[in-house]
Amino acid sequence: MAITKKLKTVKIKQNHLLGIQDLSYSEISHILDEAKTFIKLNKSSSKKVDLLRGKTQINLFFEPSTRTQSSFELAGKRLGADVMSMNIINSAIKKGETLIDTAMTLNAMHPDIIVIRHQDSGAPNLLSQKVNCAVINAGDGRREHPTQALLDALTIINRKGKVQGLKIAICGDILHSRVARSNIYLMNMLGAEINVVAPKTLLPHSIERLGVKAYTDMKKGLDNCDIVMMLRLQHERMQGSFVPSPREYYEYFGLTHDKLKLAKKDALIMHPGPMNRGVEIDTNLADDINRSVIREQVELGVAVRMACLKIFCKKI
């Protein structure tokens, strides 16, 4: 992707970051350009700037999260914002308060930005209608996880120089995955060719309509791919039996050295984490520093979130 100075003048239309679907190509380029400027900062000894000094960021996580929540927290702090992470387990939500009421309560404290993760698809959209600060979606149900897709794109660009023209395989539990959906929208927009590979029971209805080719055979789906993106088998979102056993799943859909041979020689392995080692990915492959960019994804995640916080915080 061409990253030029010209694109930096792009204005983002949306007040909130609810999903990749709402963004245009130039808006995405703008976010990724911003993120690039933070990569270096995050590696330096003094990691703090005061771009968001005096701003308040609230992290509202209704689902347990380690990496996304800490990544957003760190991103906010490095930009100089006052960051508060709500502990939902002890909050009024557990006492039956609705999302709207929680939103109104928090809104009264004048935050500048709310980062929300929720188990229900569309929850950030609902929240954004009721508060007068920016809302950033940190994952809603099965719908979107925009910052994950953005950091995936940044990781690919960092390694491959561009996304356009690459062949990307997204493998595993597509049905329950918001990461898959956001990545499909984003990589499509950036000009990649996308295969999704999953057992039929984990492929959502009409997935081809999102602009992908669907495969149920890893050998065909990985053929000649530049990027192999593995997804976690999401036990917590599964009702009933989708696959017979982790063993059977690993046999046919787990990423192993043998299956990886079908992809390009320099194909990169990605995973949004947390990994189920030995279920969707061979443990040695996950740690292979020549192939796996899983740790780099986490590293660049902070930079992407800093860019998103900076851009959307100033919007309202």
Partner: protein
């Protein structure tokens, strides 16, 4: 009450195959004394009340087979008075009320309560449905015979389906003894578990779990298989998908006797209308694809589907102002049933006579009640329609206590001007 002469109308009465310029005489008891072209301004006696209908359309009052009242238990969503006002403004003069109240309408004493409340607080005719099973638990059947004798018009678990096939077969077997009408909400619980909208591209995009059409189809197929061995008066409350229509069409062709309904929502909207998580369009059965919608229209036209219902399910703001997954299911619609249905007439999808029959004579026939037609001797339950009047649906103008209309800001053509019950004008649009 003086005799009333309604003159200068276009009389449309599908049951009697009448569509002609004429009038209608209401006798002192509020019953229809004469109807048709013979009633005109030339033969009116002096001592009667004369009402000039100015060439508007006079119809039998509509019969809506699927309406939820909030009484008892959910009075804050809808009560008999607000339901009655809403219904009358839409030309609906008779409704079948669903038993999903708190407590559930599953015993004789509840029927007395309903009839008393209905009589005291509402002007429309309430035909209460009782549940098929105690507390709609799907375990123990209710007293069909005793309840029917008390005046229960039909039996249904309303928003629930009888899942247990053995129980369903016994219900159908036993109900035939009292000639009770069984109405099934067709949805397999396990296939639809966790589902929120139609299983398809939209559910994939919105990240909402889908409800496959199969959840509906296999219950219909199962029940129709039972019907061969355990014949009873059987009605499928609402059909939503093409595949189910195919099953129904085939079964009717083979001579099986049963009836089916469709919600006006499924006839007029599709899954795309859900847009950005609009909870007012979270419905059961769910809105499906445009192809499904078109097949439902075909179903009306070829007789596979007999009735159109409003599936009026008032929900208060607090029940809808939630995430899509947590929001209540259902939409208010009794007062927009006819105007919305008229869209299908105006866009040449369904002929007027067919459309009106599906909301008057057909439901009356299924329910076995003297409503939905202009038969001489029937109560003069009528409505007067300006079929071309353009108007826009506005939440805050709805008479229903809950404002959860799925068609806010929709531009409609056709509006009720007057509604009569037993010959009295009970609604008059100013």
């Amino acid at each position: 009450m003086k005799e009333k002469y309604l003159i200068n109308a276009r009389i449309v009465d599908p049951k009697n195959k009448m569509d002609e310029k004429g009038g209608l005489i209401i006798d002192e008891k509020g019953q229809i004394k004469a109807v048709g072209k013979k009633v005109n301004s030339l033969n009116i006696p002096n001592d009667v009340e004369k009402i000039d209908l100015k060439d508007q359309i006079l119809l039998p009052g509509l019969v809506d087979m699927r309406v939820f009242v909030g009484e008892p238990g959910f009075e804050y969503k809808e009560n008999f008075r607000t339901l009655s006002n809403a219904a009358l403004s839409g030309g609906v003069t008779s409704v079948v009320s669903m038993p999903n109240t708190s407590p559930v309408i599953d015993n004789v004493s509840m029927v007395d309560f309903l009839k008393r409340r209905g009589r005291d607080k509402s002007k429309i005719n309430i035909f209460p449905a009782a549940s098929l099973t105690k507390n709609t638990n799907g375990e123990q059947m209710t007293e069909f015979g005793l309840l029917k004798r008390k005046g229960i018009a039909a039996f249904t678990d309303g928003i629930k389906t009888i899942q247990n096939p053995q129980l369903m077969s016994r219900i159908m077997n036993f109900a035939s003894q009292s000639n009770s009408l069984i109405m099934q909400h067709a949805e397999d619980n396990i296939l639809s578990k966790g589902g929120l909208i139609n299983d398809g591209e939209i559910s994939t995009r919105l990240g909402l779990q889908g409800i496959p059409y199969l959840a509906e189809k296999i219950i219909v197929e199962r029940d129709l298989a039972f019907l061969e061995d355990y014949f009873c008066r059987y009605h499928i409350s609402q059909v939503s998908s093409k595949k189910t229509i195919d099953v129904i069409r085939k079964a009717k062709k083979e001579g099986k006797i049963f009836t089916a309904g469709v919600s006006i929502n499924n006839l007029s909207l599709n899954e795309n209308d859900i847009g950005d998580f609009k909870t007012f369009l979270k419905l059961s059965p769910p809105l499906r694809t445009e192809n499904d919608r078109i097949s439902l229209i075909e179903g009306i036209n070829d007789g596979s589907i007999d009735v159109i219902v409003s599936d009026h399910k008032p929900e208060d703001e607090e029940s809808k102002r939630l995430t899509f997954a947590k929001a209540a299911t259902g939409a208010a619609g009794v007062e927009t049933l006819l105007p919305l249905a008229l869209e299908l007439f105006h866009n040449n999808s369904i002929k007027l006579e067919k459309l009106i029959a599906s909301m008057t004579s057909n439901p009356a026939k299924i329910l076995d009640i003297d409503k939905g037609s202009l038969d001489i001797g029937n109560d003069a339950d009528l409505c007067l329609l300006d079929i071309n009047k353009p108007w826009v649906v506005k939440q805050n103008e709805l008479r229903s206590k809950s404002k959860n209309t799925p068609i806010e800001n929709r531009k409609l053509q056709g509006q009720i001007i007057k509604t009569f019950i037993k010959g009295e004008i009970v609604f008059n649009r100013s």
